[in-house]
């Protein structure tokens, strides 16, 4: 039976990298959103410029389930290289839309899916003489056909084309023509609509569609970042590039035409973080964006910033590691190397945004935290959040908000005779005062170094002074607990002994999984951790449940390790649920993993088994 589904299905486009399919596919996704139906588009792309397979997936969900779901109900199979695998991945009762200009061997065809062939190449070859046009407009032709097959409002699609090309009348005309060529062919020759259909709804609300890297960059603009030093690395490069775009638009002095920002594409990640530390030492808000390999290169400098207490903001858009790993796939696998970056005893502040809106919020907040705590602050994005467009809450800003520049002594403070000791804990919160270079002719200068010094920044090799300083850094980290975003708890509908801890891009899949689990009779409280150091509530959550599942997208359960290590928790109570093949985690997978364990254990906590 072909699937009948309204506003709840997954369409997957199988394309060839570099064939110009991305903008056509996005047009398809946005047309559905314009009909008031929430969408979650995702790119699955290779580390390649041209020729390798690439997929674009649109989950359509009126209910608002925006995590990856897995499987596809409609495969738009445009890539012969991956034909067999693509056909195999379609759900039972699903559909395969393909270019029938070249017929497919029947042996490959599945009987439980509906094949919809359309001679796209023939149509385009007839219509266009230019080779590039044949290629590009073929994508628009299939989008046109899909609007007919899925009953998508053609007018919304046309309006989007007009908005996209605005003043380029020629492009508007040729794209609209291509849309209708596809649409009319489908209406005439194919049975329209199929079982998967889009019906106008009002479920998208005032939400916005944006990728996390752009959102984080905008957060940096709003947060007052003036210096950005970076080195290109997938999947973070689009973050500084978005910062460039936003700065060009919003950060040029209208009177002088001069830039109120400085952006350097550095020679490597060592230089990037060095520039950030130099700029922040000198009182500017500065950041870099990188991914795992870049983070590895920055380790020595991060230790300096921790020990010498220099603010820095690092956006880490995580990808599959170790080494070059899976550069175009997603993971949450830099948690430990960020939390404990550098040699010696170090701990760093990490923020875990769950979507682009939080990437914006934490992106701005990170600069306040870095200045307040005088230490590096990591915003831990991942490829799924960073490079995919997410439908999320609109950005908000309060114009009365002031930047927290932290404890900075001014010339007036120094003239008033305040005792300045760069590493002197005057307030008991572990945070000392600093001065910017050039503040005062005779007071407040100090020497910053990565070697041991006393409370007045004087070089010393005295063990007592060293320990005193290391203990103060721990006090400062305690203070950080109270300043970072607190975890968000959601209780199950009924009291339960089971809990789930998760973070970052796992959020939408987790929300959907919890609903599914509850429907199956498994009730769990959830805690979304939003920062490290963990506030006391995190340990309380664990100790107040018999079993807590820790859901993450890495092999080794890195957050779980951090929980055990930092909160002194019994590992037996923390059950890892891990997904790390480079695809975003799905609700199906979480649901199965947790349900299986709950069914099997049914349910004696491991701790009690052992005792």
């Amino acid at each position: 039976m072909p699937l009948p589904r309204i506003n709840d299905f997954v369409v997957r486009f199988a394309n060839i990298n570099g064939s110009g399919s991305a903008s056509a596919n996005e047009l398809f996704a946005r047309a559905i959103l314009r009909m008031g139906v929430p969408i979650a588009p995702r790119n699955i792309f290779p580390s390649n410029i041209q020729g390798l397979p690439t997929w674009y997936e649109v989950r359509v969900s009126e209910k608002g389930h925006l995590g990856a779901r897995g499987g596809a109900d409609l495969m738009v199979a445009m890539n012969p290289q991956t034909w067999a695998k693509d056909v195999a991945s379609v759900e039972q009762g699903g559909y395969v839309f393909y270019d029938s200009s070249r017929t497919r061997p029947t042996a490959e065809l599945r009987e439980d899916v509906t094949f919809i062939g359309m001679p796209l190449t023939e149509i385009c070859n007839r219509q266009y003489s230019d080779a590039r046009q044949r290629q590009l407009l073929k994508n628009i032709v299939y989008v046109g056909a899909l609007t007919a097959l899925l009953d998508i409002d053609a007018e919304e699609t046309v309006r989007l084309v007009r908005e996209q090309f605005k003043s380029k009348e020629k492009l508007v005309a040729s794209n609209i023509e291509a849309l209708y060529i596809g649409r009319n062919y489908a209406l005439e020759h194919l049975s329209c609509p199929i079982g998967l259909q889009v019906k106008r709804a009002n479920a998208a609300g005032d939400r916005i569609l944006i990728d996390g890297n752009s959102a984080a960059a905008l957060g940096a603009v709003y947060g007052g970042a003036t210096v950005c030093a970076w080195y290109p690395i997938t999947p973070s490069s689009s973050l500084p590039e978005a910062f460039i775009r936003y700065c060009t638009r919003y950060r040029v002095d209208s009177e002088t035409g001069k830039n109120l920002f400085a952006i350097i594409q550095a020679e490597d990640e060592l230089a990037s973080i060095g520039m950030v530390i130099g700029a922040a030492w000198n009182g500017a808000r500065a950041f870099t964006a990188t991914s795992g390999p870049g983070l590895s290169l920055m380790q020595e400098f991060l230790g300096l910033a921790y020990f010498a207490e220099v603010p820095a903001v690092i956006f880490d858009v995580q990808r599959g590691g170790p080494s070059t790993g899976m550069p175009t796939r997603t993971q949450q696998s830099d948690i430990l190397s960020a939390a404990y970056a550098s040699h010696g005893d170090t701990k760093h502040v990490l923020l875990f945004p769950d979507n682009p809106t939080e990437a914006f919020e934490f992106g701005a907040l990170a600069f306040d935290l870095a200045d307040r705590l005088q230490t590096p602050v990591f915003v831990m994005l991942d490829l799924d959040i960073g490079m995919n467009q997410w439908l999320c809450r609109p950005f908000a800003w309060d114009d009365s908000r002031l930047y927290d520049r932290g404890k900075v002594m001014t010339a007036a403070d120094l003239d008033a005779g305040k005792d300045f000791g760069r590493y002197l804990d005057v307030d008991g919160d572990g945070i000392p005062y600093r001065t910017y270079p050039g503040t005062h002719p005779t007071r407040g200068s100090f020497f910053t170094r990565g070697s041991t010094r006393d409370r007045y920044a004087r070089y010393t090799e005295d063990g007592g002074a060293y320990v005193d300083n290391m203990q103060r850094l721990l006090r400062k980290f305690e203070t950080a607990k109270t300043l970072v975003p607190q975890p968000l708890r959601r209780n199950a509908r009924m009291p339960t002994r089971y809990g789930v801890i998760y973070y970052g891009s796992t959020h939408p899949a987790m929300t959907e999984a919890i609903e599914g689990l509850a429907a199956a009779g498994h009730h769990l409280d959830t805690l979304r951790v939003r920062a490290f150091p963990f506030s006391d509530e995190v340990a309380e959550f664990v100790t107040s449940h018999d079993l807590v599942f820790v859901v993450e997208q890495n092999r080794d359960g890195q957050l779980r390790t951090l929980l055990v290590n930092e909160c002194d928790l019994d590992p037996a109570n923390l059950i890892p649920i891990l997904h790390y093949d480079g695809t975003p985690i799905t609700a199906r997978e979480i649901t199965h993993s947790i349900a299986d364990r709950l069914d099997v254990s049914n349910v004696t906590p491991l701790r009690k088994v052992g005792s």
Binding site: T226, V227, G278, P394, S451
Partner: protein, 351 residues
């Protein structure tokens, strides 16, 4: 020891500069380097240059990497902020600091290990970018703190203290700085203060990357015969191409000189350099000729010193990036945050 501050007490008749400061006001804490170290002479030259320029000490920031040379910023300009950063990475930290506030003077101090070995990349890229800074390499061809290993500037065939011969080719930082587009390139010798002080002054006044490669013999590990960085060797092989009489101020210059023997070089800030020619026909405005001259003479075993190249029309990174005059670290929410209304417009464009 660095934690021993120098006594503030000084002779009442010490000369003062235009700011009413004595040279003691430009000193730092007591040096912990070996007695007789060339680096201490360079520190003294920096003190004198800043004193003579009437520089408010707090308007200069001194940054360094790691090593003997990089320790020296503690020993001069005690009222300046200093940053002893990461081995080989002073250029990036200084670049960042410079971006945050272009109104300060930036002095980068490094060594041959710090710059030519571990830090060669950052050295090259800072120069490429034209960071407005004085970049001094205190070049002794050897690692001091780790006790006498060759650095990347050690000449091929030179001998270390244990008698082994260096087989690797040396990196000539002057040749690299010229090739990479430094707009002020000089070489000097820590033992020649009369040459070094005016060069440092001119470098401070220069807007752009001013690079000084300063031969600075290591008294402990590289001052023996067989070394090409010993005091004796450098003195014997020093070939100065010119002599800089630095003239600051905008007052008319009245000096007597034989025609052709002296050149007046206008700096961006209006100050003037008086350059006495020593090597016939040497033109410090010709980058390619300078590269060729230095290489020829190096091949002949000479150490060419003096102001080797200067670009009067130098541009720096701030100009390239078109950064506002107000230091970026002094901008507030008003200038930096686009605000709520703009954000609403951005939201609207994303639906």
């Amino acid at each position: 020891m660095t934690y021993i501050a120098k006594p503030k007490f000084h002779h009442h008749a010490l000369p003062t500069n235009a700011l009413g400061l004595t040279h003691r006001d430009y000193e730092g804490s007591v040096s912990t380097l070996c007695a007789g170290c060339g680096h201490d002479s360079i520190s003294a030259a920096i003190v004198q240059a800043c004193f003579e320029l009437d520089l408010p000490p707090h308007r200069l920031a001194k940054l360094s990497g790691i090593g003997c040379s990089s320790k020296t910023p503690t020993y001069f300009l005690g009222n300046s902020h200093g940053f002893n950063s990461v081995h080989g990475r002073m250029p990036s930290v200084l670049t960042g600091a410079n971006l945050a506030n272009g109104s300060l003077i930036y002095l980068g101090v490094s060594g041959d290990g710090d710059t030519a070995s571990i830090g060669l990349g950052q050295f090259a890229h800072a120069i490429r970018r034209g960071v407005n800074m004085v970049y001094i390499v205190e070049n002794n061809g050897v690692y001091g703190l780790t006790k006498g290993q060759f650095s990347a500037t050690a000449d091929r065939g030179s001998q270390n203290k244990r008698g082994s011969i260096n087989k690797d080719n040396p990196i000539d930082l002057i040749a690299m700085a010229l090739q990479l587009g430094a707009t002020f390139v000089a070489r000097s010798f820590s033992g020649d203060k009369a040459q070094l002080v005016p060069l440092i002054k001119a470098a401070i006044e220069h807007r752009g990357t001013a690079f000084i490669d300063c031969m600075s013999p290591c008294i402990a590990f590289n001052n023996h015969s067989g070394s090409t960085r010993s005091f004796d060797y450098v003195r014997e092989h020093n070939e100065a191409v010119n002599k800089l009489d630095f003239m600051t101020g905008r007052a008319p210059i009245t000096i007597d000189f034989e025609p052709g023997a002296v050149e007046l070089v206008e700096q961006h800030d209006g100050s003037t350099l008086v350059l006495r020619k020593l090597a016939a026909g040497y033109d410090p405005h010709d980058r390619l000729a300078a590269m060729s001259y230095v290489q020829d003479h190096t091949a002949a075993g000479e150490i060419v010193t003096g102001l080797l190249f200067i670009d009067n029309e130098a541009e720096d990174l701030h100009r390239h990036l078109d950064i506002t005059e107000t230091p970026l670290n002094a901008l507030s929410e008003t200038e930096l945050c686009p605000g709520e209304a703009t954000l609403e417009m951005i939201n609207a464009s994303l639906r």
